[in-house]
Amino acid sequence: MSSIKIRSKRIDGKTQIRTLITHPMENGFNRDKKTNTLIPAHFIHTLTLVHNDKIVSTSYMGMSISKDPFFVFMLHGGAVGDTIVIYWEDNLGNNDSETHVMI
């Protein structure tokens, strides 16, 4: 089960790419209520968007992005059968990727 969901929609010759990633995005300031210790920071720092084997966007982010981050990008053009790959990496070295084929 991938942590990434991708949806695409064509609007007036553009393609809207929406993505929802399941991730805790802990900023390192929250306390565990039971033990009263700080929860260590755990957040995605790099997100790469690939369209037909070409990197179209690289995003760098910090701990201020919300839990289960959601992003929308707009692509010029885009046709049926194009592939979108989204790849993320977090500060603990985890990563995941997901491929989406436009329909």
């Binding site: 790469t48 995003s59 760098y60 201020s64 990008f73 707009m74």
Partner: protein
């Protein structure tokens, strides 16, 4: 591996291609060539320091051609949706900064020419603050700011 159902087969096939596209084209490697995630920019630090790092000496011009959509009031615990859109041309990157957050730089989106200068996401706001959006072009930054009033502990 023998897969029993069609659904499972498709799932496995797409999972495999996703990885092979990344590794095959060397993206997993070439990603390093892209400007590396600058950890220092995203660490808790004063706003002036972060601004200096982000701007790299380029001037900032206020622009009314940036359309920033963010609620004027928000709650401390809930994610705040933000949408940035512009008519300006040749935008290389979009940066979002929140002055009063412990780490002011929220995100930098590097956009190639294949993408519209548009981005939408959700942020966390700690307290009432200015939200800055900086759009990088080759020579200058275009900027816009808006205050968001954050109410704390409403219960």
């Amino acid at each position: 591996m023998i897969t029993s159902t069609r659904r499972e087969f498709i799932k496995n096939a797409t999972a495999l291609t996703g990885y092979s596209i990344l590794s095959g084209t060397g993206l997993l490697h070439s990603q390093r060539v892209f400007a590396e995630w600058a950890a220092t920019n995203f660490e808790p630090s004063p706003m002036e320091q972060v601004l200096k790092n982000v701007l790299k000496g380029k001037p900032v011009i206020d622009s009314d051609k940036i359309y920033l959509k963010i609620p004027q009031t928000a709650d401390n615990k809930t994610p705040v949706p933000i949408t940035v859109q512009t008519d300006l041309k040749n935008i290389q990157s979009i940066s979002i900064l929140v002055e009063q957050n412990p780490a002011p730089l929220v995100a930098t989106f590097e956009l190639s020419s294949a993408l519209e200068p548009f981005v939408s996401t959700r942020l966390k706001l700690m307290r009432t603050s200015f939200v800055f959006v900086l759009l990088e072009t080759e020579k200058v930054f275009y900027g816009i700011k808006q205050t968001v009033i954050v109410s704390e502990g409403v219960c």
